[in-house]
């Protein structure tokens, strides 16, 4: 029953929340419409999501979002400092290949987006079999620590959420 009403709980939640933010009110009729959107859109679009992944632990999502938001602020300050004070000759850009343990396409997409938004790294390419991600670092004297950071800070949490 639950699986039939909410074939994609995360999509339902996102649609409802986005609707509430869009109308910017918590009146009963906007809540009702948000719930209707959350129920019916995933129900009708389900055939278009073959092999869809269902996140197993939604409770870990807010923690992940908070960590990413915090890191984005730090990333901004770090990059601003590098731009302002580090001469180009001392800049050590590096390509890093990060092996992936997560296999879910959704999780890899979120990881790639997170990498781009956070400290000095941009995700650039995926290995053909999807088992590694190519990351460009703005300033990485120690590429191994970048790899460890990505794996411990983000990938481990995404693995908890999705797998």
């Amino acid at each position: 029953m639950r699986a039939r009403l909410f074939p994609h709980p995360l999509l339902s939640l996102v649609l409802a929340v986005v609707w509430l933010l869009l109308v910017s009110s918590l009146s009963p009729n906007s809540i009702l419409f948000a719930v209707l959107l959350g129920v019916f859109v995933p129900m009708f679009t389900q055939p278009y999501w073959p092999g869809m992944t269902r996140p197993t632990r939604l409770s870990a999502v807010p923690g992940y979002v908070l960590i990413v938001l915090y890191d984005i602020v730090i990333a901004n300050i770090q990059v601003a400092l590098i731009v302002l004070f580090k001469p180009s000759s001392k800049l050590q850009p590096a390509w890093v290949s990060v092996p992936l343990e997560i296999r879910t396409p959704e999780a890899i997409t979120i990881l790639a987006g997170t990498i781009t938004l956070t400290p000095g790294t941009v995700s650039c390419d995926l290995a053909e079999d999807g088992h590694a991600i190519l990351v460009h670092c703005l300033h990485a004297p120690d590429p191994d620590s970048v790899r460890e950071d990505i794996k411990n800070r983000y990938e481990r949490r995404l693995k908890e959420i999705f797998e």
């Binding site: 302002l84 088992h131 590694a132």
Partner: protein
């Protein structure tokens, strides 16, 4: 509008102005295309974010109602900014980057930009052909 709201709005506007400026300056200053991507993807996120928070506080101070559409703008910005960065990086990989200078992905396969067949394949791997000799891919199978 109460005094605290004016102070907060001013503070966030100044912060976002500084970060927007630094981001744009970084775009000019950094030495090559790949490092240049870093400045606008990061610094402008906080730049725009600051304006949006200021807008929320202003709306709350002026009307007493909390507007949440700004959060939504932030959300969509977080969704789109990595994608545009990825596109620029992909173009760079296809056109400028030497494949040998990249680290190999560990389970030995190669990066999708270079090895994958089909539309995602690098443009420089396909030699230009005169239109008469162009062979259409066989889609009957």
């Amino acid at each position: 509008m109460p005094f605290w709201a004016e102070i907060t709005v001013t503070g966030f506007l100044v912060i976002s102005g500084v970060f927007g400026l630094v981001g744009s300056y970084g775009l000019l200053r950094l030495p090559d295309p790949m490092t240049r991507i870093h400045a606008p993807t990061k610094a402008t996120t906080l730049g725009v974010g600051g304006v949006l928070i200021a807008s929320m506080v202003y709306g709350f101070g002026a009307t007493g109602e909390l507007s949440t559409r700004e959060l939504l703008i932030t959300l969509f910005l977080f969704l789109t900014s990595p994608i545009s960065a990825l596109f620029i990086a992909k173009v760079h990989l296809h056109l400028r980057q030497k494949r040998e200078s990249l680290p190999e992905p560990e389970p030995d396969t190669g990066w999708a930009s270079y090895t994958a067949q089909g539309p995602s394949r690098g443009v420089r791997d396909i030699p230009p052909q005169p239109p008469s000799e162009r062979v259409l891919p066989d889609r009957s199978r």
